[in-house]
């Protein structure tokens, strides 16, 4: 694939930023400082990065409960993200969203949400809006393989197909819907086959290969932008950790977990860059050091930020029509 060095570097940084952010968030969660849940995206970073690196800044995305990666890949900042996880007033959503409900419309992040398949309808609606407004924007809609069995998936993909909406459906096929294996819940092995029934293109990808995802996303986004309608990208990348932090994963074999770890997308891309001499060891180290500093600064920012004033509890919660 023809990318310039700057783009390679940007993709690597994006992968690493998500990884380090989440590792830190997990440590802090274990230490009891982050309330609620942490659903780690570790092992699936190449999907958000591969897709978002092919989007324009004005394009939009919807994320999932496992959404830190989507937000960061779309360009959201680690400090306000971390503050949101802490429930601090300086967080993107003033601490009301937490880990699972981060949104920033200015960055094109329509929102992560805790409902499985909850984002599919929203993303499809947004794409319809862009079509009506003729603003040339595309929406990338992220969801898991578990969400593919929800009714909203069928209804949304169907309507997007018949109306040729500017949207890309990105399935993060990590093999598990909490503790239920995809094998036990979907009776086809190539999930992209489902695209056929909607008359749209479907591709089955190695979701740990960021360049493969990027390339497929580029094609799907171009198709969407040119008015040819939606595509279905099945990005296969096993979860490296539990469904949520603290999940003992008794339902999963150690072999399956090891398989995920052996196919670490960040390690793979780092090796690719070094082996192909796209980046030098020094350049990689420089990026790693810089991100380490950024993550620590984000933690410090979150630590030092105030909690919201209780009188603000109901603010921003309802739209009041004039």
């Amino acid at each position: 694939m023809k990318l310039n060095k700057g783009k390679f570097s940007e993709i690597f940084e994006s992968l690493l930023r998500i990884r380090r952010f989440e590792e830190k968030a997990i440590d802090i969660f274990s230490a009891g400082k982050i309330p609620g849940f942490i659903h780690s995206y570790i092992g699936e970073e190449a999907i958000a990065v591969g897709v978002c690196s092919a989007l324009e800044p004005t394009d939009q995305i919807t994320g999932t409960h496992r959404g830190h990666g989507h937000c960061l890949a779309k360009g959201m900042k680690m400090d306000r993200m971390m503050a949101e996880l802490y429930g601090k007033a300086t967080g993107y959503n003033k601490g009301k969203g937490g880990s699972m409900h981060i949104a920033d419309f200015s960055m094109g992040v329509l929102g992560c949400n805790g409902i499985v398949a909850g984002g599919i309808g929203m993303a499809t609606g947004a794409a319809w809006g862009h079509q009506i407004l003729k603003n040339n924007r595309v929406v990338a809609c992220f969801f898991g393989d578990g969400a593919m069995n929800r009714g909203t998936f069928h209804e949304s993909v169907n309507v997007a197909s018949i109306w040729s909406l500017p949207i890309v459906y990105v399935v993060e096929a990590n093999g598990w819907g909490i503790s239920c294996s995809t094998e036990d819940s979907i009776h086809i092995t190539d999930l992209s086959e489902r695209a056929k029934s909607y008359g749209i293109p479907g591709v089955n990808l190695d979701g740990c290969d960021v360049l493969a995802v990027h390339e497929a996303a580029q094609a799907a986004i171009a198709r969407a932008r040119s008015g040819q309608g939606p595509s279905l990208l099945i990005c296969n990348a096993l979860r490296m950790r539990g469904h949520e932090e603290g999940d003992p994963q008794k339902y999963r074999s150690k072999k399956d977990i090891q398989k995920a770890k052996d196919n670490d997308p960040v390690t793979r891309f780092r090796s690719y860059l070094l082996e192909n001499e796209i980046l030098s060891k020094e350049e990689v180290k420089e990026i790693e050091d810089r991100i380490e500093i950024d993550v620590n600064a984000a933690v410090q920012f979150a630590d030092e930020s105030p909690y919201p004033d209780p009188v603000e509890a109901m603010a921003d919660m309802f739209v009041v029509e004039d």
Binding site: D27, F29, A31, G32, G246, P248, K254
Partner: protein
């Protein structure tokens, strides 16, 4: 700089955790993300990953310690670095010497046996009543502690502190008890063994059950004849149980597949037909053996039965009376039970449950007749035989019981 090992807040509902096992020893090299210890919380037992890389420090919270989440339970130190002093809440002891070697560590498989098995309800009840779980002997499967165990233990405990802590003049000490009182009975060794063996059998041997009604008219006549004869010879009262042991021993000879056991993925067929008879005694259930019953005449079976039952009631059975059984018969007919399903007596393949003989309507040559009948129910370990094999055995047994003279003539 030493890295703190925290008891992690693994979930937002978890408030404390118990250290079940350290998977590494003091001084062992550890790397970040590697499984370091096993912690049990209200929700589950979880492998905790190492928070950093280095060497496991010399002061650790010992196995069994329960601490609130986010408590420091040890340190990871750099090479040659002094391990910081560990202080646990409420002055719980600390391991300072090198901790014991864990040969099975990392295998993960065997550690489960060491985990205390407690039902979530029992754990909550114990917490509410302030009962120390380590003092409880669980009565659930594999020693799992159940809520009843906690209540039983608490009821036993209550008697002491209540008299001390009740306000003077209080006439209703039971008000202080937050649950209904429970009476505890110590069980006999026999009852304990029965519990263990039945749990083992029901948990490991997949049971299936075959039921058949047998016409006992002929056996009835035969027994009456024997009773008349028996009085004359002082031979005692031949019982239906004797006839059943006799019939089963002959049927088993023709169906050796049921006179067998399942072990290590193999079938072992016993060479002798040794029939156990379940007997209710003051100390509990016991099943002495009629060795080589297929070679005993019906009268010999009768004498052996009278002898065994008497000694069983008086707790005088010898060890050799209880070994090498290959098949068991349990008869509850004398209590008016029509039919029941028994649990296989391990390691045997099957047990025959016998109900009462009663006059029941049966169709004979298209005419409804009243006949003395008996319900037999055979419980079978499916690992040893399949339904058809067991059914053929039961068919043979039915034929013998319905035509006892034929078999008697053949044998005696």
């Amino acid at each position: 700089m030493a890295i703190k090992i925290l008891l992690p807040k693994v979930s937002f509902v978890v408030t404390e955790g118990k250290i079940i096992e350290w998977l590494k020893k003091t001084g062992d090299p550890v790397s970040k993300g590697e499984p370091l210890l096993v912690v049990e919380t209200e929700k589950a037992a979880i492998e905790i990953e190492s928070p950093g890389s280095g060497f496991l420090g010399s002061e650790l919270a010992p196995v069994g310690t329960v601490v609130p989440v986010t408590t420091t339970i040890g340190y990871i130190v750099a090479e040659g670095e002094q391990s910081p002093k560990l202080v646990l809440p409420s002055e719980q002891p600390i391991i300072t010497a090198p901790i014991k070697n864990h040969p099975e560590a990392n295998q993960g498989k065997t550690t489960e046996d060491k985990w205390m098995k407690v039902s979530p309800l029992a754990r909550r009840t114990a917490k509410e009543l302030g009962v120390d779980l380590t003092k409880i002997n669980g009565t659930g499967p594999n020693g799992r502690i159940l809520q009843e165990d906690i209540l039983a233990f608490a009821a036993g405990q209550d008697q002491v502190p209540l008299s001390d802590s009740s306000p003077v003049g209080s006439t209703l000490p039971s008000q202080a008890v937050t649950h209904d009182p429970v009476e505890i009975h110590e069980i006999s060794t026999l009852q304990r063994i029965t519990a263990e063996r039945m749990t083992m059998s029901f948990g490991t041997a997949p049971h299936f059950y075959l039921n058949v009604q047998v016409d006992m008219s002929q056996a009835f006549v035969m027994r009456e004849a024997y009773l008349l004869e028996g009085k004359a010879k002082a031979g005692g009262r031949l019982s239906f149980t004797d006839i059943l042991i006799f019939a089963v021993s002959r049927a088993l000879k023709d169906h050796p597949a049921l006179n067998a056991k399942f072990e290590n993925d193999k079938h072992y067929r016993f060479q002798n037909v040794n029939i156990c008879l379940a007997i209710d005694t003051p100390l509990g259930l016991i099943a002495p053996v009629f060795h080589q019953a297929d070679r005993l005449s019906i009268i010999e079976i009768h004498h052996r039965r009278v002898d065994l039952v008497e000694r069983a009631q008086n707790n005088q059975l010898a060890p050799e009376d209880l070994v090498n059984g290959t098949f068991t018969i349990s008869n509850l007919g004398m209590f008016g039970i029509d039919s029941f399903h028994a649990i296989v007596n391990p390691p045997q393949a099957a047990i025959l449950a016998i109900g009462q003989i009663a006059k029941r309507p049966v169709v004979v040559n298209d005419i409804l007749e009243l006949r003395p009948t008996l319900w037999l129910s055979l419980s079978v370990d499916h690992r040893v035989v399949d339904g058809a094999v067991a059914a053929r055995f039961l068919k043979t047994l039915t034929v013998i019981l319905e035509n006892p003279y034929k078999t008697l003539m053949k044998q005696d």
